[in-house]
């Protein structure tokens, strides 16, 4: 295999933080850890080029670095791209992850890197890459490179990857079923007992932590604001004209209420399978409060109720899908000059 290896200024031998602004350069053959990489990859492999770049330069000029690396990888007809391992170095990890994603997407060859779990590059790229868990200590260089080489070998022949703990990579967050010896009840009691004894236990899933969403600045004068109602409670006109799915909806709809002061049950239905919908079907204002909003409008509490309400079904929706729906709805509202939104949910 012909390999291109990416290193930062430190591992590339330029020097420490004082060389962090060094622009990318290319060397023939292996440099520093690249020699070890060559050895663990085996006799048929050769590091043909090494790209070295300062961490600050990489962080500040990602597009320049990307273009540089893609050109070198293409020019030498590489079969594999390896970056790092980066251990805990955050800027290094972020650059290595980005380059691996770019090289595999645009040139179509396998790319592999290694980092400590705490490295910010992990959260950015774990879903797209095989990132070997390097741990924090640089003394694990050889073990880490060996795991990276094994993963590279599997990727290059299209062999199925094993479990993260078996192959040494950081879980990518992809779910796969498997049958096990012990029933769920046995596993639950075992895990609980370990917790009560203060012993180690392995949860089968860890709670995903999400960045908090910053609150937008407050509406300066609500009495002049255009306010829209948005719901994930699935209220749609009779006949569900946009065919919004009652579960894991992939679409949303926008429905005219400009001439309505009150929503009547006979005009609407509910595309949602996750709650007891009787009361909303009886009176849709309970989910889409047009009646109260009209009162507030006439009292001058709010400026204007937006002419449409927006609806989708918020049941069992994958996050990626929810993010897209949210972005589309927010864009539509912004384009319509809406200043504030009342969100209702089932």
């Amino acid at each position: 295999m012909r390999v291109v290896h990416y290193l930062n200024q430190f591992f590339g031998g330029l020097g420490g933080e004082e060389f962090a602004s060094a622009p990318p350069e290319v060397r023939d053959g292996a440099v520093g850890p690249g020699r070890l990489l060559e050895r663990v990859l085996g006799q048929d492999s050769q590091v043909v080029k090494t790209v070295i770049c300062g961490d600050n330069f990489a962080a500040e000029n990602p597009d320049v670095l990307k273009e540089f690396v893609l050109k070198e990888v293409a020019a030498c007809k590489a079969d594999l791209f390896v970056a790092g391992p980066c251990f805990e170095a955050g800027r290094y990890g972020a650059a290595a992850g980005a380059l691996c994603v770019d090289v595999s997407a645009e040139i179509g060859i396998p790319a592999v890197t290694g980092m400590a779990v705490e490295n910010p590059g992990v959260d950015l790229y774990r879903q797209k890459l095989y990132i070997v868990d390097s741990g924090e200590s640089v003394s694990a260089m050889e073990a880490t490179l060996s795991k990276m080489a094994a993963i590279a070998a599997k990727l290059s022949v299209g062999q199925e990857m094993g479990a993260p703990t078996d192959d040494g990579y950081i879980p990518r967050g992809i779910l796969r079923d498997g049958f096990v010896e012990k029933s769920a009840a046995e596993r639950m009691v075992e895990m609980l007992y370990a917790k009560t004894q203060g012993a180690a236990f392995q949860s089968e899933l860890t709670v995903t932590t999400f960045p908090s969403v910053p609150a937008p600045p407050p509406v300066i004068d609500i009495s002049k604001a255009r306010v829209a109602i948005v719901t994930d409670g699935g209220v749609v006109p009779q006949g569900n004209p946009d065919n919004i799915a009652h579960t894991a909806a992939t679409t949303w709809g926008s429905y005219d209420i400009s001439k309505k002061n009150d929503l009547k049950g006979e005009d609407y239905e509910v595309a949602h399978r996750g709650y007891d919908t009787r009361y909303v079907r009886q009176d849709p204002d309970r989910m889409v409060p047009v009646d109260v909003m009209r009162e507030l409008e006439s009292e001058g509490v709010v400026g204007k109720l937006h002419d449409q309400f927006i609806s989708t079904s918020g049941l069992a929706n994958p996050l990626a899908n929810s993010r897209r729906l949210g972005q589309e709805i927010a864009q539509k509202l912004k384009d319509s000059g809406v200043d504030a939104v009342i969100l209702t949910s089932a």
Partner: protein, 420 residues
């Protein structure tokens, strides 16, 4: 409280001229059982058939699966509140036909419900029901009955059949006995052992319980707040499956995998099983917060639990309510483990949980999202009507959740999800 299960092993099931247990062979007089069931005027006719392990046979759509059981005369009431009078379940002796099952088919349920028992082939290997000898009962109700009355009719037929079969064991000596003994929260002499409880949902209010739906001692749970039960009450007919039964059958209330496992550790002297709490998932916020709060308070202040195991009943709202209950427990100093089902439609771990509570850190994950089977055509189908027979007898693909027991929410499942 002490419950003794007198286990009578059944290794063969066949029809005959009278109903009796001959060693491990259960012989059923179809006519007398049919007549017994037809005493319910809501029934017009009853079909029945036998499905043995390994047979090329498929049963569907399943209403419920129950183990044949009967109380020793004088020891209590059979299915109290449904068949027998209200009486505390879980004490005295109950005779069990182990290895046999009453599997009631719902003639009006659509195939979309995917509740199938598969007796052979690869899918059968994943289900705990495929090793049982099933008496499949197909009650045909008066077509003019409202749906909930028809369902109530099926429920009654199921427990009547369970008792009818198990009656054969009354004059026989059992192959084994199993004793379930716990003094509950007042259990003494076990200092230093962790006190462990089970909190299980038995209904989800996303669907309004039918007025005559029988779940807890015959009650439909409407308006109910969480209630404490002795573990034996689950095992002995105090709780049966509601109609939504997604991954829940009465068979695994009677043989509750979690309660059985807690009892095993209890007997081994590793922990003390102090009690259980039955609760409901809610359909509005106040109901949710009230039920979760009360369940966690009972675990803390009535059971003085050090740890609880939690399960849900149904899909998303139950999942979220179970997690909130676990969080409240953890915040009051009780360790928890929860069992979640596979909620992720895009196979991404980030979509797998409907909660974001760092305290709820011990999760058992039942899979199913990417397991399915290509079922072959079968020679024999037990179904509610000719159209369903035609739909079921052909080769077809089916997801894991479509085969009873594979993605069980009662703790029996061995299919789990791994994060890659």
């Amino acid at each position: 409280m002490e419950l003794t299960l007198a286990i009578h092993q059944v290794n063969d099931l066949r029809f005959g001229d009278s109903t009796y247990l001959d060693g491990s062979t259960l012989v059923v007089d179809r006519e007398s059982l049919t007549n017994h069931l037809l005493e319910d005027p809501r029934l017009q006719s009853v079909d029945m058939d036998i499905a043995n392990p390994g047979e090329a046979c498929r049963i569907g759509v399943v209403f419920d699966i129950i183990e044949p059981r009967i109380k020793e005369p004088g020891a209590g009431s059979d299915y109290p509140g449904i068949l027998g009078p209200i009486a505390t379940a879980g004490q005295g002796t109950t005779h069990v036909l182990r290895g046999a099952a009453v599997t009631v088919v719902d003639e009006a349920a659509p195939l979309a419900n995917n509740k199938i028992v598969e007796m052979s082939g690869p899918a059968s290997e994943a289900s705990p029901y495929s090793v049982l000898h099933h008496l499949a009962v197909v009650p045909h109700t008066d077509p003019n009955l409202e749906r909930h009355i028809a369902q109530n009719t099926l429920r009654l037929a199921s427990v009547k059949t369970s008792v009818f079969l198990a009656k054969t064991a009354l004059d026989q000596s059992p192959n084994a006995t199993e004793v379930f003994q716990s003094d509950g929260p007042i259990q003494a002499g076990r200092d230093g052992l962790p006190r462990v409880a089970y909190i299980g949902q038995i209904h989800s209010r996303q669907r309004v319980a039918e007025v005559d739906e029988q779940i807890l001692y015959g009650a439909n749970t409407a308006g109910m707040v969480p209630v404490m039960l002795h573990p034996n009450e689950w095992l002995d007919g105090g709780v049966v499956s509601g109609y939504q039964n997604m991954g829940v059958e009465t068979y695994f209330y009677q043989n509750h995998p979690i309660i059985n496992e807690l009892y095993r550790w209890h007997r081994e002297g590793k922990l003390t099983l102090v009690g259980t709490i039955a609760t409901m998932a809610a359909s509005d916020n106040e109901d949710r917060e009230r039920n979760c709060m009360l369940a966690s308070e009972m675990a803390k202040w009535n059971l003085a639990a050090d740890g609880v195991v939690l399960t849900k009943y149904g899909g998303g709202a139950p999942h979220a309510d179970m997690a909130l209950t676990a969080r409240l427990c953890e915040q009051s100093g009780i360790f928890t483990t929860v069992q979640v089902s596979d909620m992720s439609r895009d196979r991404q771990a980030e979509s797998a949980l409907l909660f974001n509570y760092p305290e709820v850190d011990a999760i058992v994950y039942v899979g199913g999202g990417d397991t399915s089977w290509d079922l072959p055509a079968v020679e024999k189908v037990v179904a509610g009507n000719p159209a369903m027979t035609a739909a079921l007898e052909v080769a077809q693909g089916i997801p894991a959740g479509g085969i009873c027991g594979v993605t069980s929410q009662q703790g029996i499942s061995k299919l789990r999800c791994f994060v890659y």
